[in-house]
Symmetry: C2
Amino acid sequence: MSSGDPETRRRILEKTWRLMERSRGRQVSIDDIARAAGVSRQAVYLHFGSRTGLLVETVRYVDEAKDAGTRLETLRQATDGVQLLEALVDFWGNYLPEIHELAKALLAVRETDRAAAAAWDDRMELTRQCCRVIMRCLVRDGILAPEWTPEQGAEALYALLAVDVWERLTQESGWSSRQYVARMTTALKKIFVKQ
Amino acid sequence: MSSGDPETRRRILEKTWRLMERSRGRQVSIDDIARAAGVSRQAVYLHFGSRTGLLVETVRYVDEAKDAGTRLETLRQATDGVQLLEALVDFWGNYLPEIHELAKALLAVRETDRAAAAAWDDRMELTRQCCRVIMRCLVRDGILAPEWTPEQGAEALYALLAVDVWERLTQESGWSSRQYVARMTTALKKIFVKQ
DNA sequence: TTGCTAACTTTACACCATGTAAATTGACAG
DNA sequence: CTGTCAATTTACATGGTGTAAAGTTAGCAA
């Protein structure tokens, strides 16, 4: 599945990303991508095997391009729970606009497609871990709101960062990324930090 | 689009609902539905014109069966903001499990399909209004947290009730409906109600 | 020069879902 | 008997994914 010229491969991934980014929900066919990358449809199958394979690799590619892993990993090293929470929401609010369309495409095939599900879960795992770390820090500092266990808190925090929520607020309600980050941070602190 | 025997129509809608309910994300084809309802695929087109038409009508059908409109309308008459918030989350937490799969199918075609988008927005409008009413009540009672305008608060509340969030918590994290309702209510009160 | 190989193209086709079209059947109403 | 409604049967167009296989082209090695 990883045969072919790495440069061609990179070009296909790049175009997949760009096309997805620009196609407001419209489905991007493999043919569209191949044309854009200046290769035949079959070349795409040669490199990625299937639509899902292509999506999965594209997510990895974008993740790498954005250096998301490193940035999140850095966050995880932090020690102050509240600061960490702020940093996570800030990261998330600025990261999501850039992977939004791609994320939706992946989530759309998530149910029917194990590879896509695995790819998404894999990408989300770091965020999830970050949520857990935040809760542990809050516990350690004695400021986790008493109605939460750290596990439940982590799950809730992770859930509230859902793409859907971000989408409604920024796309439908017209909040800017700054506003999303600011208001979401405030809300999350109220939920999880003992007042 | 509304030709044909009403009883057959009802049977198709009923089966669509049931099949969607039971098919964990797997796509339900019109042929599956037709077989289940004991009619030909063409009969479905006769009644609903298209897949979207069928989805749209199914939502209406379910909504009617569940009497969602009336229940939400009743809520809107209430006067105490906090009680209203509790009632909304309670309604939502018990309603979502039943329309979940259907909602996902609609949301999946939302971007490419105006009719589906319209149907979904139509169904959500009551919930949205309920969110606005809640914020107005909180303002009137002088207990809306000062960082929110009622408009922003309504948007935020509506966003946080997203299907995605519910799905992550109940399906992935294994929260029961009761737990979802209880914890979400607590969280939302902390966000929106002045402490 | 010959010949091999990797990367990609071309062509063709299987499959499946949606959607359209039209001729046909069966029942019931006037 | 005739018309009409409801639904069926059959057939076909479209568009996407995915597979198969033969052909092309450039580079490189003996």
